[in-house]
Amino acid sequence: MMENILQTSPILQLQGVTKFFGGLCAVKSFDLKLNKGDLAGLIGPNGAGKTTAFNLITGLYQPTKGEIHFNGEQISGMDPHEITRMGIARTFQNIRLFPNLTVLDNVRIAYHAHIDYSMADSIFRSPRFSRGEKELTEKAQDFLSIFQLEGIQDELAKNLPYGEQRRVEIARALACDPKLLLLDEPAAGMNPREIINLMELIGFIRERFNLTILLIEHQMRVVMGICEHITVMDFGEVIARGNPNEIQNNPQVVEAYLGKGAANAA
């Protein structure tokens, strides 16, 4: 197992990434390696530094120390939009759609980085503008169809029920044409039926778009059900790595989640 990881070049590699907020160490020499096609999970109690790790990967925060490589290129120090353009897309823990824009526009925005008409084209409504706009609208509608959202394309995002908002957010992230998708608590606030749908959806998009996926999740059903590798964090540090089975039986993990006594009892 270990040798396998070393042989292939990783799509994402974090080396000794540390982030301080003032005197508080949110993430401490964090190492992570993802290979192409992996579906990995990042778990840990609240405040463990999982979302901070995501923000470091996507460039919203700059690491205090350490390096992040994506496809062999160093991305720490880049702006978030540059990192997105290189092929990392994400969703947010508390859904961040554009509430007053329609579902279709929410998805169409993802193409802004890749449009092939200039501002002059749009001001003078050149044929290039019409062609480009038609193309990207069709692509966006393709995504909406995949996620069964084509009927609500003209709804404002804020008017959608929770589950659909999640789907729109994933559709929007995929429209960025990523190689690596980061999902921050995709199952938060979902009922058991919706969670099953979500797990199927994640598996489906991974195959269909040839993605590497890293997800943060508190719902153990999701993590244990679909992730192949799991990294457990606590107080900004990695306390365990392994496959779902190993993690479930790791006393340190049980301790982090349930407290010391529980670990002894187990």
Binding site: T58, G59, L60, G77, M78, D79, P80, H81, T84, R85, A89, R90, F92, R96, L97, F98, P99, N100, L101, L104, D105, R108, I109, A110, Y111, H112, A113, I115, Y117, M119, S122, I123, F124, F129, G132, E133, L136, T137, Q141, L144, S145, I146, F147, Q148, E150, G151, Q153, D154, R167, R172, A173, C176, N197, L198, E200, L201, G203, F204, I205, E207
Partner: protein
């Protein structure tokens, strides 16, 4: 008398709104010839109303003044709506940029008709050189990562100052070639009369807009990186600085013709209905085409959620700057058109307190609604200045002051009853976003989330 006047004024406002609706409707017509004819007709209607038929005019001089005031206010307010309503950056500096545009254009044409081509040459050459400098420095800085915004600002300002210096020298050098053709005010030369003067006026307006845009670029670059509230305060400060410069334009600035606080007189009154209508249409079309494009969606996404738009690959800083520059460009155009209608510029007109008017109009009409801004600009000018002022002045000499009590109350009521603005996000005709036909559900493709078999198919 008063009731008749009241009804007449209200009818005028209603007719005007109907006119705007018709204009926007016809502009949005799919057939090109209908569009062209309709716009021509819209132009002609007002032109006829302004024409003097043996002493009879449909619109009297007072109404004419209101009409032009409303047209320029529309340009300024549309610019502000782009910045505040669409991009979410709370700017109080719009009025300052309006003033810059007004003074810049006025100076160009004033000098031109007084036998001095330097205004035209220096501003014209200056904006081109400065534009090139900004473009070049921008391309150069793009190659380096992580340059602090103040450092890049220093580069830009050095480049622009050098361009300005060069433009002044070149302008002085070229002036003797053109100046003899300009004549004097009493005896205008071939380039300072007729069609040539109209062409110069057209360029003066464009130059003033571009000049304002470049100033706004330099100002916006460091300031837009502040948060929205701080940005508002900074822009307010900018408006005050500009006003102070205007008051002292003849003492601390080398522009004796602007006459400082006494006000600039003798600006050629070149704005007629053709130019006002033309520039109004230019601003409306430019803004509408920008909004209904990928750039426009990016602009709105920044307003909605900056972090999310970053994560969508949008360069937020660049996007904000672009919006700010375009919005200020509109303000500059509006100022230039205004200056050549009124023929007299006083710093009092550009006081920052008056600068809240476009903000009120934008909120009144609805943030992020172009139709709302256009309708509110016309409605506001005709209601406040046209109706209330006249009506109240019949009740006593001091009574017109009451309108500043009445209209804040109106505004307050509107905010309470319709917080989304008078028109909300309703757009008329031309300004409506293009509806994309929604796709029918294709039968036979099971949903990926709901039916597991689709996963097998996909795999």
């Amino acid at each position: 008398m008063e009731v008749g006047f009241l009804l007449g004024s209200l009818l005028k406002i209603a007719l005007l709104l109907g006119y705007l609706y018709g204009l926007l409707w016809v502009m949005g017509h799919p057939k090109l010839w209908v569009k062209a004819l309709g716009v021509l007709a819209a132009f002609a209607i007002i032109q006829v109303a302004l024409t003097d038929f043996n002493g009879f005019k449909l619109l009297n001089a007072f109404d004419q003044g209101l009409l032009f005031q409303a047209a320029t206010m529309t340009m300024v307010a549309l610019g502000l709506n782009l910045i505040y309503g669409f991009n979410g950056q709370f700017s109080l500096g719009q009025w300052g940029f309006y003033g810059i545009g007004a003074y810049c254009a006025a100076d160009i044409t004033y000098r031109w008709v007084n036998g001095d081509a330097r205004g035209f040459l220096v501003v014209g050459i200056g904006i081109i050189l400065a534009g090139l400098a900004i473009w070049g420095i921008g391309a150069f800085l793009k190659r380096y990562r992580g340059i602090p915004v103040l450092s890049s600002f220093t580069f830009y300002i050095l480049g622009v100052v050098a361009a300005g210096f060069l433009a002044v020298k070149l302008g002085a050098l070229l002036n003797p070639l053109i100046a003899p053709l300009l004549g004097t005010p009493a005896n205008p030369g071939p380039l300072a009369s007729g069609l040539a003067l109209q062409v110069v006026f057209f360029f003066a307006v464009i130059f003033a807009g571009a000049f304002t845009a470049e100033i706004s670029f330099l100002f916006g670059l460091p300031v837009l990186s502040l948060g929205s509230d701080y940005f508002g305060i900074a822009t307010l400060g900018f408006a005050i600085v500009i006003n102070t410069l205007m008051v002292n334009s003849d003492t601390i600035l080398p522009f004796p013709e602007m006459k400082g606080g006494r006000g600039m007189i003798g600006i050629p009154k070149l704005t007629n209905w053709f130019w006002a209508f033309f520039f109004l249409l230019v601003v409306i079309i430019l803004m509408r085409n920008l909004i209904h494009s990928s750039t426009g969606r990016a602009i709105m996404s920044v307003r909605e959620d900056e972090t999310a738009s970053r994560a969508m690959g949008i360069n937020v800083a660049e996007n904000k700057l672009l919006t700010f520059v375009v919005g200020c460009f509109f303000a500059g155009i509006g100022g230039a058109v205004y200056a050549h209608y009124i023929g007299f510029l006083s710093p009092g007109t550009f006081d920052f307190l008056v600068g809240f008017n476009p903000l009120i109009i934008v909120v009144f009409g609805g943030l992020g609604s172009m139709t709302g801004t256009i309708a509110a600009s016309f409605g506001w000018v005709f209601f406040l200045e046209g109706l209330l002022r006249v009506l109240l002045s019949q009740m006593g000499t001091e009574a017109p002051t009451w309108r500043y009590v009445l209209y804040p109350i109106t505004l307050l009521l509107l905010i309470l009853i319709r917080p989304q603005g008078l028109l909300g996000n309703v757009e008329w005709g031309f300004l409506k976003s293009v509806k994309v036909a929604s796709r029918q559900k294709e039968a036979g493709t099971p949903p990926p989330g709901d039916a597991p078999q689709s996963i097998q198919e996909g795999a």
